[in-house]
Amino acid sequence: MTKFLVRRLLLSVPILLGVSLVVFITIKIIPGDPVASMLGPTSTPEAREALTARLGLDQPLPVQYLSWLAAMFQGDLGQSIAQQRPVLGLVADAFVNTLWLTAFSAVLAVVLGLVLGAVAALRRGRVAATVSNALALFSISTPQYTIGLLLIIVLANGTGWFPVSGMYSAIGGGTWGDLLWHLVLPGITAALVPAGIIARMFRSTVLDVMSMDFIDSYRARGLSERRILWHAFHNTTPTLLTVAGLQVGYLLGGVVFVETVFSWPGLGQLVFDSISKRDLAVIQSGVMVAAFAFVLINVVVDLLHSLIDPRVRA
């Protein structure tokens, strides 16, 4: 097990290096002189040159890349020019906020997806299954930025049942209940797409497993359909885990639209805001953190997978 984990972690090192290279190159493509935008239009050429040298931007690109990597290893993500704060704190705060949203919608998505998928698989040929299939299809096709707005219109506009922006109420906020209450609408919005994907995957996996030989031999051994179903569900867990893990990873970095619609101060929102401000250090760190988290989730998923399914350990 430890060996498996170590090997898996080692495998992700080159991937993360590749990720950092892509981020670095993407940032370098961004047009405009970052130093000029930092110092403003009135700056003197001497001042610009000095800052360029201080930031190491006069070095050759490979050197810049390596020193960026080295700094990152020491926890130095640079300074945000827009907010005049160390990037590390900014990104960390935003990441935690995104984690809340992700966790909430992941739970919602898995529950919803399993229910829809199970109904679609086990009530095959009946109205309930058709409805479930349609809902799942609808879910995967929804643009989050319109569903979020529609939810606001339907559930919040006029009724005031749910808050439509931010994480906490300005007055009397800050409690767990307040956070949960604020999570409802963005949580549902973010959960729909993964719920649809999980539902469709779960349906086809259940049907696959139910058509396998061992289900029939359970039947021939005298097990009740209920217990057989239980064993069938057990056998869907490896696939379920993999897909759900991917969806959590997707949520972590992919809730930009939701965060924008609901003014959720998360990572996606932060990166997006920084784009218009040309706040390069924040953009690159934000994307790096999201990718890093995603790779990490994959390692955890693989590990859990190997715990459930002895075949992948071999």
């Binding site: 299809l137 707005l149 219109i153 924008t260 994307v287 994959n298």
Partner: protein
């Protein structure tokens, strides 16, 4: 490690064990095809059938509700006819969704074939590079690329194409690997056919149906993302009519004229659902399965 975005997660396209090949395209898929054909026709005819110009606003008639006389779908915050903008907006919205898939399919198929049929080292190189792209949350990567390139529809298309290449390449690769191990390939190799010729004559025709089916299903997603980039201000820029732009414009009037928002929202949803249903139907018809695992 696979991916994160919705339909972006196929590890394999394979013949399903149980399902029988559908003899005809299933009814929902046929309906979708008809809907899409109608949308395409309206898109092409937009300049002819629109009652107004897409940028032509009458500030005296702002935010007319749906069903107003002379404005079937109402008017927006600048008094522009929403129906007109919806029709004119279809072209950039659909193009920005379709073209990335076309580009990604072209590049992805080549990469997948090269990986599957090339030297093992090439295989490793290509697949590991794809893993790197997979490690990014797709939306975030698209946003970062679009931002790096600067706003504009062509840059949005490039950004989306980049995030769609890895899944297409992976589908192609796994399908090609499967075909490579089939008997007739050995026969082709024995007969002395060259690598490129084998790739084009033997593998590509067999890989194509699966990849096309998969790509069709990606279009729905791509249209949603493309409009999303415009919504964020990274794709088509206002005042050009485009569905994502319309959503973002109408958002200001969320509380005063909420129903107007429905118009572009429903348009995006309908097209996206239609492509997904069509993708499902084609998958059953061609008897291929894109596994999300």
């Amino acid at each position: 490690m696979t991916t994160q975005a919705p339909a972006l997660a196929p590890a394999a396209v394979s013949r399903p064990r149980t399902a029988r090949r559908a003899r005809r395209l299933p009814a929902p898929a046929l309906v979708s095809a008809v809907v899409l054909a109608a949308v395409a026709a309206l898109t092409l005819l937009a300049p002819l059938i629109s009652p107004y110009g897409p940028l032509e606003g009458d500030l005296a008639a702002r935010l007319q509700p749906i069903g107003s006389p002379g404005h079937l779908l109402g008017t927006d915050g600048q008094g522009r006819d929403v129906l007109t903008r919806l029709l004119h907006g279809a072209r950039p919205s659909l193009l920005a969704g379709l073209l990335p898939v076309v580009f990604a399919a072209a590049v992805g198929i080549v990469l997948g074939l090269v990986a599957a049929l090339g030297h093992p080292r090439v295989h490793t190189l290509v697949m590991r590079s794809l893993d790197v792209l997979y490690a990014f949350p797709a939306v975030l990567l698209a946003i970062a690329i679009a931002a790096a390139l600067g706003s504009g529809i062509s840059n949005a298309i490039i950004a989306l194409a980049v995030i769609l290449v890895p899944p297409v390449a992976r589908v192609t690769e796994s399908e090609a690997m499967r075909i490579k191990s089939a008997d007739f390939m050995a026969a082709a190799q024995v007969s002395g056919a060259g690598r490129v010729s084998i790739a084009l004559r033997q593998v590509l025709p067999n890989v194509a149906p699966g990849v096309v089916v998969y790509a069709t299903a990606l279009v729905g997603l791509s249209i949603v993302y493309a409009a999303g980039l415009s919504y964020l201000g990274l794709g088509v820029s206002p005042p050009t009519a485009e569905w994502g732009v319309m959503v973002s414009e109408m958002q200001q009037y969320l509380f005063t004229a909420p129903s107007l928002l429905l118009v572009p929202a429903v348009a995006i949803l309908v097209v996206s659902v239609a492509f997904n249903v069509l993708g499902d139907g084609l998958r059953d018809f061609f008897n291929v399965r894109t596994d999300a695992s």
